[in-house]
Every structure is written in C-alpha cells, then in structure tokens.
C-alpha cells in the first residue's frame, strides 16, 4: 500500500521571464546607468544567479530626481485626483492579472514560499493600489491637507519587496507626489517588473523612478536635495542614520523600523488557535518580519501544555523549495542574514537558553535555517532583546497581567504585540497598556490596506495604510 505523503508540487518557473541584466527605470524608460557597478541578485534557495542590476551612482540618482521633479510639476500634481486615481486602478488591475508571474518572481528572488507570495503578498499588493486609488479624488475628506509634498525618496527592504513598494508608492502617487524608489540590493527584480507595469499602465514618465543599488545608492537617494520627503523601511540602525542625515533639511520623514514583538498568551486562550498564531507570528516569511511575534510570553500555568502543542505543530512545518506549493518555510534571503541569525542563535545557547528545532532535513545548497524555539529565556538574554529577523522564537513566562505587560514593554522597540485570551475586557486592558503600534488579539500578522501600520519608540514613526497613511504625503 502506498503511503500518503505529499509529492513535490512545484509552481512552474516558465511563467516568468528574467532578463540577464536590468537597467535603471528613469523618466518612463529603462536607461543604462552612468555608474559601471553591477550587482548580481541570486536565488537564495540554490545560490544560482538570477540576473544582474545596476548599482546607481550619484549622477544616476540625480537624473531620477530631475525626472521626478519635472513629472511632479508638469503632469502629476496638476492632474485631477480622479484621473490620477484611474492610473492607480489600472496598476492594481495589471497586478491582479500578472499576480502569479509576480508571485513566482518574488519567491525566486526572495526565497519566501510561493504559498505566501501567491496568497498573501500579491493580493495585498493589488489591494493596496486599489485602496489608495480610491483616495486620490477624496483627499478633501481625509482630514489632512490636500497638497502633495513634491518628490518622495523611498527606500525599501528585502523582506516583502513588492508589498513594501506598494506601501510606499501607492499613497505617494494617490496624493500627487512623484517618487524615486530604491529596492533592496538582494531583491530588486519585482520592483523592476513593477516598472514594466507602470509602462503598461501608460503612467506618465517620471512619476515613478526606480534606481537599484546597495547602501551607497540608498544614501544618495535619501540625501538628495531634490527630495521633499523621505520614507524608509528597514533596520533601526539605518533609520537612525537617515534621521540624522535628514535633520535640519526640512524634509519630511517617516520610518518603519525594527521590532521585538511580544505575543502574550493568557491561560484562558483558545489554545489551538494560539499555537497557530504563535507559528504564523514567528515563522511567517522565515521570521523576516519587522512585526514578528519573536517573544512568546506565556502564562506560566499553561506553559508546558502550550509548548508541547507548539512543538508538535512546528514538527509539521514543511521546509524547502520555495516554489513548492506545499512549502511552509522557505529560504533565508541572504548569506549575510543567515550569518546574523546563526550568530544570535549561538548567543542564545551560550547565554544559557535551551534551543529546540524539529528534525527537518535542509537542502544542500542555499541559505536555510530550521525553525527554532528557545525556552528558559530571560529578559537579559540577547535573544530576548535584539531583533533576530529569522525563524527563532524566544519563550518567556509570566504570572500576572501586570507582569506580562511590563515584560512586553521592556524593549526599545514598539511595533507589534499579540494578546490571546477569551476574555474581552482583559484583551482591551492589555492592549491599552501595550506600547506598540499594532496589537493583534487572537490573531497575528494580518494586514490590510485600510489598517494603519507603524511603530512606537525605536520602531519608527509615521503610519502606512488606511486614511492615516495619507498624512505622510500631504502638506
């Protein structure tokens, strides 16, 4: 009798055409960079090169800002909001039409499972454009000003490449700003596919400009005197550097930075769903999530039962080929990130916490890290304080609601938190005391274009999404 085990179910790569090399997207066209430097982007699941892109230099960035300024003054800001909105609706529709192609491309370049790009990233990307398209002719009803700021300099991370692009570009364009956007050096490909979509939508040249590159390009984008507004998503250290660079320039700034989210589970929680929430809180996208629930705070009286269920659940996670439709955990995005995760996990062991991982085999090539749970963690451990940005969960216990809140807030970060209880008043009591920009109750890591997202404290400032997300782009 054959045993019922899942056979490989790979999504086809043939839906995507990746060019061997990409130029910069400036003023509506792909143009060769003046800089000679190139960056190779690899598939983190097998370390094979996918393509190479330009590393834009200062002259290239300057050209992009010139195009963006011209488009802002002559075309985009004078255009009636209803017409701007129609371009965004078009973009949303093209993204829906090309969703599978973009999902495969994102999985190839980023390493995240096709299940996530297909069912989460791409639907949210299209929805974000659709949502802000609807605001373009209703700015007078939003409660902020109605005048755009000018040219927005936008720098985005590698963990949700196309989704972070959508979070940045959609509200900027809806409000009448033009953009110069720099995607992350390890995940530039979907941003370049988005450039093609702008062409397909007939978006006027210069409204969206995409300059690829690494840290130097990012610094040039942020520092360019033509930027009226800077928007950055990434690490807290780089965010600090940007805040210093922007200080005194008068540029508007929003930052969406790191986190060390606490996921608080009370003893009356719906335990099976709490286990699901813990798993999606930390293992979604390999833990490369700024709002990950990387600290599990569980009430001591149920800790043992919960952890047993959690381990059994983690044993079922399927790690491997990101393009396999049954893969739950994909590849870590880069060698550098893998090294950082390994270093912090080693610190956890060295400081006396106990690590546990399921016995899942790892592919021979590529960047992989097993889902890992550390128990016996205290607030003093590095793995309880520093953002690991990987599939590593630190488990702490508490005895009372006061203790849970105190521990949850005992961090310089303040992006996200979770609260699991069947008692509504306790949920609200806890949520009202948490110093975090997003509090999920009896769920975790859910996103919607209508819902504002952003952090307290060193997790940054400003909100993206919802009516609130318009504020960052209006004067």
């Amino acid at each position: 009798m054959e045993i019922f085990e899942y056979a490989p179910a790979p999504e086809s790569r043939s839906i995507v055409t990746i060019r061997p090399s990409y130029d910069l997207f400036i003023d509506g066209e792909f143009v060769a960079a003046k800089s000679d430097e190139r960056i190779v982007t690899v598939n983190p699941a097998d370390e094979e090169p996918l393509s190479e892109v330009a590393a834009a230099g200062e002259a290239d960035v300057d050209r992009a800002f010139t195009a963006a300024r011209r488009a802002f003054e002559r075309v985009w800001s004078p255009m009636p909001g209803a017409e701007r909105g129609k371009y965004l609706f078009r973009i949303a529709r093209i993204i829906q039409e090309r969703a599978r192609e973009l999902a495969v491309l994102e999985s190839l370049d980023n390493g995240k499972p096709i299940k996530e790009t297909r069912d989460i990233d791409l639907p949210l990307v299209a929805a974000h454009f659709f949502y802000y398209a609807g605001w373009a002719d209703k700015l007078a009803h939003a409660g902020f000003g109605t005048r755009p700021l000018g040219v927005a300099a936008q720098v985005i991370p590698w963990n949700f490449p196309l989704l972070m692009l959508a979070w940045k570009v959609a509200p900027a364009l809806a409000t009448g700003n033009t953009v110069v956007l720099k995607p992350a050096e390890t995940t530039p490909l979907t941003a370049l596919a988005f450039a093609e979509i702008c062409q397909e939508a007939g978006l006027p040249p210069g409204v969206v400009n995409i300059v690829t590159g690494a840290g130097d390009t990012g610094r040039a984008v942020v520092a360019h005197p033509g930027a009226d507004k800077v928007a950055f998503t990434g690490s807290t250290d780089v965010g600090r550097e940007i805040a210093r660079a922007v200080a005194g320039t008068g540029k508007r700034l929003t930052l969406e930075l790191g986190g060390k989210g606490a996921n608080i589970v009370y003893d009356d929680a719906a335990i099976d769903q709490a286990v699901e929430g813990i798993v999606s809180g930390i293992f979604f996208n390999q833990g490369h999530v700024c709002c990950a629930g990387s600290r599990l705070l569980v009430q001591e009286s149920i800790a043992e039962e919960l952890l047993a269920k959690l381990r059994a659940r983690i044993e079922r996670l399927r790690l491997g080929d990101p393009l396999d439709k049954n893969t739950d955990i994909g590849a870590v995005n880069s060698a550098a990130q893998l090294a950082r995760i390994r270093e912090l996990a080693a610190a956890g062991e060295a400081e006396g916490a106990t690590g546990w991982s399921p016995a899942c085999p790892l592919p021979e090539r590529g960047y992989w890290f097993r889902p890992t749970v550390f128990t016996g963690v205290t607030q003093a451990h590095r793995i309880a304080r520093e953002e690991i940005f990987g599939p590593v969960l630190s488990v702490l216990t508490f005895r009372t609601p006061e203790e849970a809140v105190a521990k949850a807030n005992n961090t310089p970060y303040g992006l996200s938190a979770g609260v699991w209880t069947e008692k509504g008043s306790l949920m609200l009591w806890t949520a009202s005391r948490l110093r975090a920009g997003v509090v999920w109750s009896n769920t975790f890591n859910v996103f919607d274009p209508a819902s504002p997202f952003g952090g307290y404290k060193e997790s940054g400032y400003g909100r993206e999404g919802g009516r609130h997300g318009l504020e960052a782009y209006l004067g």
Partner: protein, 289 residues
C-alpha cells in the same frame, strides 16, 4: 442589386431588472418611449405595484449577503461595473443621445461622467468607516467604538431628465455602503436604465442588490414609499410627489433624502449621498482584568 434585400435589424426588448433576472412586468403591460422630439424609440415594460413588491423582496433577500461582503469586495465590484460600462460606451452614448436629445459629443461626455461616478463610489466603499466612524473618548473604563452600517433596502427615485448619469449618481452611493436598492427609472427616458442593468448583470454584482423598474412614477412611487420592508428613500426624482411620499415614509419612520440642490451632479459630492443611508452602531466594552 435589386435582388439584394437589406438586412433587417434585430431590436432589443427592454425589460425590468429584478433579483438579477430580466422579467417583463407581471402585469404584461408596456408603454411607448419617445425621444424629446417625439420619435418612437422602443417600448418599455410598464411595471405594476406587484413588480414593486417583487423587487423589494429581491432587495431584502440580497441585503445580508451584500452588506456582509467586505467593503473592499464591494469596491472591486463597483469598479467592475465601470469597466463593463466602458466596454459598452457606444451603446450608452447612442441611447443617451436619443433619450436626452443631445449631441453625440455631449452624450459621450455624459457617459464618461457616469463611468467615472462608479469609479468614484467604488473608492468610497472601504473608506466610509474611517471617515465617519471611530473610537469615542467616553469617561470610564470602556472601549467605545462607533461604526457606520448600511440601513437596509433603499427605494430610489432616479432624477428626471438625466436617464444615465443621474441614475448612476443616485444608485452608486446607495449600494457602495452595502444597502440594496429598488430604483424607479426616469419615466420618460427609461431605456438607458435597462441597458445599465445589462451591464450590472455582467459585473459580479449579486442579483437583487440593484433592482430597476420602469413605468409610471405616480403608480410605482406610493407602494414603494409605503412598503414596510423598505428602510429609506432617496426622493431625488420624486418631483411633485415628494411631500406625499415623505408622509407615507413616516409610517415606518423611513430615512428620507429629500430632493434638493442637484448635488448628484457634483463629481465629488463626498458623503452627502452615502451618509443618509447609514446607521451608526456604537459598541461598548469594559476594559479590565
């Protein structure tokens, strides 16, 4: 040459739109529709009070499903209506030109405005809550949140003299928030309304969300305004009957949007036509351990 007879065109039968289907009037009646110049255009169904009753039943049946959809989904469907209309531009323009007696260019402009109106209200669907709702700072350990909700079945009298743009401008704001509608088309120019129904029927809009009746305003309006299972009325096209209908509505305390300035003509009327058909629900919950 003499042997070739000209092809005889196939004409369209204009019917009602009720519950996602295109029935003739249960009364079996129709009435001739003419252009402003008096030329015969077609016959339209002459709906009866029983058709009103059927339409209200269809609208009520559709209400839980439509109001229960996500606002995002409703927005997508309204946008889809715009897409479907855009694809039938020529047909709409021809009918609008015939119905209103305007130039082809003017008719094109009116169709464009009608398409854009759907896009405008598609965008409102998932923004109403954040503009009209929110947390209330009550004095005490309570979480207190007010949220707008659709009121239910809305009877809509489309404005006279603007058979497409006027109709779309009053229908779209009613259904974008999750209400369902029974709409009485412009009595003298009902044909574009029926063609619009054909676009609605191919737009993923669930049957019964928008029901369109053609016929005599004086015959259809009182039973609609007096129907106890109708929650609100938009009297935009009620003309001289407005006061009488408002009085009928009072029996079951329907919400009434009175005919006023031509604010449906405004390309950005904001929430003025959405808000009258919303209820505000406020939820209290203690905060404590």
């Amino acid at each position: 040459m003499a042997d070739i007879s000209p092809r005889i065109g196939v004409r369209k039968t204009y019917k009602l739109y009720v519950g996602g289907a295109f029935p003739r009037s249960e009364s079996g009646r129709s009435y001739p529709v003419t252009s402003p110049a008096g030329d015969h255009l077609a016959n339209a169904a002459l709906a009866s009070r029983k058709d009103v009753r059927d339409a209200v039943v269809a609208a009520r049946k559709a209400f839980p499903g439509w109001s229960g959809r996500t606002a995002y989904n409703r927005g997508q469907i309204l946008y889809r209506i715009a897409e479907m209309m855009e694809g039938r531009r020529a047909q709409f323009a021809e009918e609008v030109a015939a119905a209103e007696g305007v130039s082809a260019a003017r008719a094109q402009a009116l169709v464009s405005a009608a398409v854009d109106r759907w896009v405008y209200y598609a965008g409102w669907a998932d923004k109403i809550g954040q503009v009209l709702g929110g947390a209330n700072p009550v004095s005490g350990p309570y979480f207190n949140l007010s949220e707008p909700e659709p009121t239910g079945v809305v009877g809509v009298f489309a404005p006279a003299g603007s058979p497409l743009l006027g109709l779309v401008s009053v229908l779209a704001p009613v259904i974008t928030s999750g209400n369902t509608a029974v709409l009485v088309a412009d009595e003298r120019a009902p044909l574009p309304a029926v063609t619009l129904a054909e676009a609605l029927a191919t737009s993923d809009l669930p049957g019964g969300v928008a029901n369109i009746l053609t016929g005599r305003l004086a015959e259809l309006a009182p039973p609609l305004a007096g129907h106890a299972d109708v929650n609100a009325l938009d009297l935009a096209g009620a003309g001289g009957l407005a006061a009488e209908l408002e009085a009928l509505a009072a029996t079951t305390l329907k919400r009434v949007l009175r005919p006023g300035a031509d604010d449906w003509n405004d390309a950005d009327p904001g929430l003025s036509r959405i808000r009258p058909f919303l209820e505000t629900k406020t939820v209290w919950h203690p905060i404590g351990r």
